[in-house]
């Protein structure tokens, strides 16, 4: 199996989909510069650099999608999406519905986010929950190169607008990518490790922290099930409920602000639909309600690490007060 970085897996998925469907185009902030091999293969009309103007980049993607193309727009960093909120939220997310289904918007917005480069709060802000909260949009955040490739292919083929977030800390981490080029369906979580005692549910880089926590818990006789959500909308509620009913103990982990984060939705789902199967309260581990600082130790402190996840799992596994 070839080994690729997540960034290269994104490039591979783009190339495969552009080869497969001439309606797929890619434009954005430096995409023709950074992925020049796409320009070489597909030409300067299908792969374009843009001005650093996120509103018109996103708006152009929305218009092009309604006009029959399948654009992928690279907006670089997630906080820059603030300039594209009207186009993504008010146009891409709503105009299908508001027009009575006359239009569809098959587009993908790429943006990087997360701790790892110490680039500060205006480049690193995990805002995925904003888009989950916006009707009409799908939201994906892969944790491995193989998933990035498979999910991006599915996102490009999807007839809905997809916000596709790339975790900065994982971008240059290598991983095995299978030869098969099939897309991975959106809305399906992956069970990365089976266990009976506690469920660790996460997405993005903290999935790997959950796996590390599961390793150390295993040495203590606690078997943890690790679930990678992969797509945040649609959310794989069946997988979340199944693992919670199996273990009865859940830790939900993400780097984004804990307050009104995706973890809150997972915890609420469990309270509503798995309450009687829970043996302990759900624990949410997330970032603080603070902008992400640049200083390396402070930046890392915004991310739930393996030891904190293991400690939470141990707390849940201990006998609960009556």
């Amino acid at each position: 199996m070839p080994t690729l970085t997540l960034n290269d897996a994104v490039g591979l998925a783009l190339a495969e989909e552009m080869r497969r469907d001439h309606k797929v185009i890619a434009f954005g902030e430096g995409i023709a510069t950074k992925r020049h091999e796409l320009v070489t293969e597909f030409g300067a009309l299908r792969v374009r650099n843009t001005p650093l103007a996120e509103g018109i980049i996103a708006g152009t993607a929305v218009g092009a999608a309604a006009g029959g193309l399948r654009p992928v727009a690279d907006l670089l960093f997630a906080p820059f999406l603030c300039y594209a909120m009207d186009e993504l939220v008010n146009s891409a997310g709503k105009l299908r519905y508001m027009s009575g289904g006359q239009f569809s918007f098959p587009l993908v917005t790429l943006a990087m986010t997360g701790a790892g480069w110490g680039i500060g709060a205006q480049h690193n802000h995990n805002i995925e929950a904003w888009f989950v909260h916006s009707p009409g949009l799908k939201v994906v955040m892969p944790s491995t190169p193989a998933d990035a490739r498979g999910l991006l292919k599915a996102a490009i083929r999807d007839d809905n607008p997809v916000v596709f977030l790339l975790d900065i800390g994982l971008l240059y981490q290598p991983g095995e990518v299978p030869h098969e080029a099939d897309p991975m369906p959106l809305g399906q979580a992956a069970t990365l490790r089976s266990g009976n005692d506690v469920s660790l549910i996460s997405y993005g880089k903290t999935v790997h922290h959950c796996e590390q926590a599961a390793e150390s818990l295993a040495t203590e006789g606690i078997t943890a099930e690790v679930i990678d959500l992969r797509s945040l909308k649609p959310l794989d509620e069946a997988a979340i409920l199944a693992t919670a009913r199996k273990t009865g103990r859940v830790v939900v982990v993400h780097e984004a602000n804990r307050l009104c984060g995706v973890g809150a939705e997972v915890a609420a789902l469990l309270a509503e639909q798995a309450f009687t199967r829970l043996k302990a309260p759900v624990i949410r581990l997330g970032g603080p309600d603070a902008p992400v600082p640049s200083s390396f130790p402070l930046e890392q402190a915004t991310v739930p690490q393996a030891d904190a996840i293991a400690a939470a799992a141990r707390r849940l596994s201990a006998p609960q007060p009556a």
Binding site: I56, T60, G68, S91, M98, S99, Q102, P135
Partner: protein, 320 residues
């Protein structure tokens, strides 16, 4: 007096002006009586819509905004289905999901109507890109106001369309009002066209209350976009003679300015020209008005009889 010699059917243009005015007046009456929700009417701006839309080809695409009744009706939309949409009924063009503010009619090429001021400007380049990359001949006509021209999206849109050679005809209906603010309070320049020129694209200005002048200017501008596959901007100077939204007492409007524009009513201007040219007799005028009134009465009845959507449709069409 023969400035309309190029207009194939000047009487048809005149009838469209009457139809739009009658449609808007029906909404004003209905909203006063509580039968129809209030809207952003295009009263006073009918000539801009009729002249511009009639200069476009059937394969051109139109993006418009919340003040769109004139564009839709001039393009041939059914006033009954439009009113049904305004009233939130099942037979509305958008199945009651839009209301008055964002009616799109894909089959007429009226696409992606948005009420976010400047929203249509951010979408137009992409629609034009799709036309170009798929080898479609139609250009994109994007209708916006002076308010939208003060949004960043106007400037980003013109820059990108010029940079990428996109066939967008930017049509500014400068109606002097940006919601409740006069454009003098909001614009650093007198004309939106001045800004367009800054992006190196051809610009024209025209009296937006003269339907024949608008028709001619839009034909020229559209031909230029069609031939060069590059953007152009047309600014039509007109006036919103009713409020921002019904009801609106217009207490904030300078009375002398309003009176001056009411004296330049686009329908009266057109009627006088047709009469002076011997193209319209008083009896024919009355006949046209009666036909339009009857059409609107039928439309109101159709809309009122249309059922509301079923509650089950609440979450229909969120996702493709």
């Amino acid at each position: 007096m023969n400035t309309f010699s190029n207009a194939v059917e000047p009487l048809r243009l005149y009838e469209q002006l009457l139809l739009i005015r009658a449609y808007e007046n029906a909404i004003v009456r209905g909203s006063t009586e509580g039968r129809i929700p209030g809207t952003c009417t295009s009263v006073g701006q009918e000539a801009a819509a009729v002249g511009a839309i009639n200069a476009l080809s059937a394969d051109d695409l139109i993006l418009t905004n919340h003040r769109s009744a004139g564009h839709l009706l001039a393009r041939g939309a059914d006033p009954g289905r439009m009113l049904a949409e305004v009233m939130g009924r099942r037979d509305g063009y958008c199945m009651g999901k839009s209301g008055s503010l964002h009616i799109s009619v894909k089959e007429l090429g009226v696409v992606l109507t948005t009420t976010i001021v400047g929203g249509e400007l951010s979408l137009a380049p992409g629609v034009a890109l799709a036309q170009t990359m798929q080898g479609r001949p139609g250009i994109v006509a994007c209708f916006f106001g002076d308010g939208a021209a003060c949004e960043g999206s106007f400037h980003e849109s013109l820059n990108l369309a010029a940079l990428w050679n996109l066939p967008v005809l930017y049509i500014c209906e400068n109606n002097q009002w940006q919601a409740f603010v006069h454009r003098r309070e909001a614009m650093s320049r007198e004309r939106v066209a001045d800004w367009g020129a800054g992006y190196g694209i051809p610009v024209r200005t025209v009296d937006g209350n003269d339907v024949f002048a608008v028709l001619e200017a839009t034909r020229e501008a559209a031909s230029q976009v069609r031939d060069t596959r590059r953007p152009a901007l047309l600014e039509m100077t007109t006036y919103r003679t009713r409020g921002h939204f019904e009801p609106d007492d217009q207490g904030y409007v300078d009375k002398a300015e309003l009176a001056a524009w009411l004296a330049r009513d686009p329908i009266a201007i057109c009627r006088d020209r047709l009469i002076a040219a011997g193209r319209l007799a008083p009896a024919a005028d009355a006949e046209l008005a009666a036909r339009v009134d009857s059409r609107i009465a039928t439309a109101v009845a159709f809309a009122a009889a249309s059922p509301f959507p079923a509650v089950e449709e609440l979450t229909l069409d969120v996702y493709a």
